[in-house]
Symmetry: D2
Subunit: 363 residues, 4 copies
């Protein structure tokens, strides 16, 4: 249990990094939505390894197949199953992991929970699992695009280690984000990030970072108090991604150091609409979107796999030392960007459908 997410737009991912493949079943996608494999492939290509020198050099084509739920280019309203086959499997590369727990990986905890694990790679804890999320996110984006043509979901890297970018969330564009392999739209800082990541990789080490996401032009009224507040579901979505350590919305942790007179977002009338002068709330008040931009940040830890030797233990309870071979991302945040966007689109889409259900008098 635990492989499903969402209430009305409900995704169930499946698959380990090694074995038949990975994928997702989407239940609850409205019918008659135009959907092609290419819509999904585009997003999968953004998260795919091997795209630049700063990410893992594994070659995976990650071609998706829509197994069900689409007919003549349109969704049927039935479950959409999407499958991506595994390839480039080199289980022998992982033979050592059969006995040895990699530090800060999930080897030990999967063993503690399930009494078994697929040691040929990360298994279910591998980042390959996010392929299903990105595929479902592509579908969610299509739905949002049809209902709210001006709504944008845009994520980008704001920080890698000590390098902090300056980015205006109100105006940054996807083109700027995709313009370099770091997915940091601050060009000067991006160049430093590339250099830092490459150096870190050479030293057999890895780096953490922060991804920020903005939803521009969202409708007001999304989110269902008290437990399914919009920020609560976003927080769960983000912390369910591998390697995440924190989530903050709007003012975030900085709010703790503020006074109410500074933090409160004064209302004003702008263009006949109720708007706020500031947006410390991050677009959500009382768990419900207020129509301002939704802004949040996600902290990612440094990749657990590093080439430097590390102390660890074996399943047989003896202490040992491990030095990872294999090909890994020295910093996950560039490839995390499309995953953050996907999970955001999924949360929004679910709440959009829920909001449509709940109102008797619909505009």
């Amino acid at each position: 249990m635990g492989s499903s997410f969402g209430r009305l737009f409900r995704i169930t991912t499946f698959g380990e990094s090694h074995g038949g493949g990975v994928g997702v079943v989407i239940d609850g996608c409205p019918s008659r939505l135009a959907l092609s494999p290419n819509d999904i492939q585009q997003e999968l290509d953004r998260r795919r390894p091997g795209q630049s020198t700063i990410v893992t050099q594994r070659q995976e084509s990650d071609r998706c197949e829509i197994v069900s739920g689409v007919f003549e280019g349109k969704t049927l309203g039935t479950p959409i199953a999407i499958l991506v086959r595994n390839e480039d499997a080199r289980p022998e590369a992982y033979r050592e992991n059969q006995e040895t727990y990699r530090p800060s990986h999930a080897d030990y905890t999967y063993e503690a929970k399930y009494g078994i694990r697929n040691w040929q790679g990360g298994g279910r804890a591998s980042a390959r699992e996010t392929i299903g999320r990105v595929a479902a996110g592509a579908v969610a984006r299509k739905i949002l695009g049809q209902l709210f043509p001006r709504l944008e979901v845009l994520a980008y890297v704001t920080c890698v280690h000590e390098l902090v970018a300056t980015i205006d969330s109100a105006t940054v564009t996807r083109e700027e984000v995709e313009a370099n392999p770091t997915r940091c739209p601050d060009v000067a800082v991006a160049a430093q990030i590339v250099e830092l990541i490459e150096g870190t990789r050479r030293r057999g080490d890895s780096l953490g970072g922060v991804v920020e996401c903005v939803v521009r032009q969202p409708p007001a009224g999304l989110g269902e108090p008290v437990f399914d507040k919009l920020e609560a579901d976003l927080a769960k979505a983000m912390l369910s991604m591998p390697a995440t350590k924190g989530f903050e919305i709007g003012s975030g942790f900085a709010a703790a150091k503020m006074k109410g007179s500074e933090h409160n977002d004064a209302f004003e009338i702008r263009g006949a609409e109720v708007r706020t002068k500031t947006n410390h709330s991050g677009g959500i008040q009382g768990g419900i979107s207020n129509g301002e931009n939704i802004i949040f940040r996600v902290a990612f830890k440094p990749t657990a796999t590093i080439a430097q030797p590390q102390k660890t233990v074996t399943a047989g309870r003896t202490e040992t030392t491990l030095a990872a071979g294999g090909r890994h991302d020295p910093c996950v945040v560039p490839r995390a960007v499309p995953i953050v966007e996907a999970m955001t689109a999924i949360v929004l889409c679910d709440h959009v459908l829920r909001q449509r259900a709940g109102s008797l008098a619909r505009p």
Copy 2:
């Protein structure tokens, strides 16, 4: 929708700040657990207003009634309904709110979503809603206490505005936390916090802060990848509480500035068990508890209600100025401590029951 939380230990809260009352229905509590109204009242008393000079002076006795599910002092396995009547209602104090949206409150968003709101107080967005959570948390604690007698769930204030406490999460005790009204166990900082909050109240302003929570002696194996990772459910639980802006586990946002060689928690054998030398993971790896202490922090914004006049708008779309009367907490973190603990106990209890269901070979 959105008023239920948990999969096997499932709580449904109900109630507005004004009206018949607030409460919770707990479905899924195991049978034959000893449970008395006093078990619940104790925890309710910790979140009750009017306990000291630094919290709201509203007087609410918050006496709970167990309406169902308990017979002769034991749980029946049937739903436990707990009701707390509202009192001290002074709707006239809120008359102004009928027309005017309070900045950074949920007045406008509830109106945008539902087209109606109970303007006599905070309605469903009031902190009174958390009474049901605290009551359910008391039941969750009893279950955890029976299954894991050494497990402790302990939260405390680590920061109010610029004042940051020094606390050892491994050794701090509940007695130390409860020893002063701030629920900050660093005595020197606690004294400064009292002074700061009282001064802030006099100036008609409010303050944010941070609550940290530690779970000591948790079992390994809790959490269900990939979406119901333990930290994901904790993040959702925390962000579903009023006034929260951020959540971080273990190293949290600091992880973004670390290298893998620093951040990874090396395994070692200690007392025949697999343990980690450090705990940057915060007790959870791959979404599953590893047996180390679970540690996380929650950021709270400054109370939205302040006595200083603020710019805002009316339902009729005219701009106006509002100065709150009424009695409010100038800083929510002291009273948030028992709520953080309650939600933590609820998440743990749910995952404990899930873990018991999922294992064929049970110890």
Copy 3:
């Protein structure tokens, strides 16, 4: 677990026959629906004991209180908690049940499952639990009435023991159903039923019966294949009621004895609409309503409580004989009618909300 029903219009009932009370929390009721205690009380009065000579003579006023979710006569969109206090409790009347399992009651199975039971009456297995269902059904009816003013949900008794009524489901009215205490609108058969039930009661025995329910003027398109087919959810709703033994839709078990050429419902154009000439399908095809009347039947067993002495066993595993005292319905079907209607309205309402969520292009 197991005390919640519905996905978007979600009810959670609570309460035992003895103790503080029984009730329901409804989560997912749309906002701004006019709702008064009287809307609910009307339906509760229809299921209340003591209404005639053929039902139990227990006197329970069953006054409902709306604890939350309604403000100034309108729903808020927040959970609606409804509470009915228990009264007329005479636990000493049940003292014998503490040790002795009543045949065909739930005493033994609750003990087997939970290791404990409230022996003061039927506990959670009592028909009093259905109060919460009827209250929620009254709310569901209001929603359906607002969205589909011509839709009718009407149940009635078609059979008690060997007495079988002749009723035209297309034209029977609620007035005819409520015209006599049997809730059988066939006047001649109703008179025989009264006589039969009274004689049976005198002999200390009880009787089974059948309730039929028709939904007239339903919209087409309700039901969600493949598991949440409309008839599947109706079947679950009906079999979740106490004392039910069977469910059939449309042709039901008679379909097993038919040929396809007889059973198939030929389509025709009537008033520009697609309609069927016959309705063996009972208004549902492939799990989705087709706009014809939805018709189903529910079998009820004879009341388990009878005055005649019966062989049984004690908790201590000795054989014994039991003769029930107390006041009970000699036949449950008259009082089951409003409960069948309530559960039907709840299922329809849930699927109406689901259907509204699922369609991008809404009429």
Copy 4:
């Protein structure tokens, strides 16, 4: 939505009769269960077309692939995805269905609900969808077999049209059921059924029937009142299968014609256990299994597809006549037997896991 079933052993089926394939994702299967493709293939082979002269002559090999969740012959505790490719597709055979609604099929209702349908065969309403159920049922059986080695789930045909078999549910064996293509273990009646079905097929007609299912040696304590009563979940499971029209447990509709003094199941002590002398309850009392055999029956309508010409209408709202070509089962009950067993095993398995979660003091 609506393609998932179960709470802890949760299955999500996907796929249309034409397109990439059909299958299921099982979330919540305990880890370390021995599972091979052959375990699943065996059950799939029992539901496969083309096995005898009395079922459809379509040739489908229905080979299953376990895509995920199994490693070195054991379950991982992660989602088990099972895929069966479609083949033998002759979409041109269905061209007529693009415009014309087949009577008593789901063509019209899918169109009414979704505004689109895959007209190349039955789409999602095809019996091919049940492949996913049978695959999941095979996994559920393995779990039940490990936990309750003596538990048996056995279904068989008791009636086709007017032909009614005599079968002792307590002693009938799977070998007897599988001994002839009707899956009716009454040899004499089985021979008549073969003759009847063959004659009916020649006349271009079809027949209904009844399947009975018995669960022998079930544990007591399964089922979760009040809504997730064991019979309620069984009823939903059965009515969610194509072509079903009714469900009855134990005495079923016959209970309506009985007196309490006849119907009540007297308790007795047998072999130190609490047992009932009769079993009108069908093994479930108050929604919870009592340890007696669980017995229920399911009514199936005659196959909707018949070769005789029928009146119907087109999507363009004109009346027309349709005579089906294609190859279809003239009576579904023989092939329904393994599907009934699969859904029963799934329901039991889910409740077994739920019961394990809910008890603090576990044996």
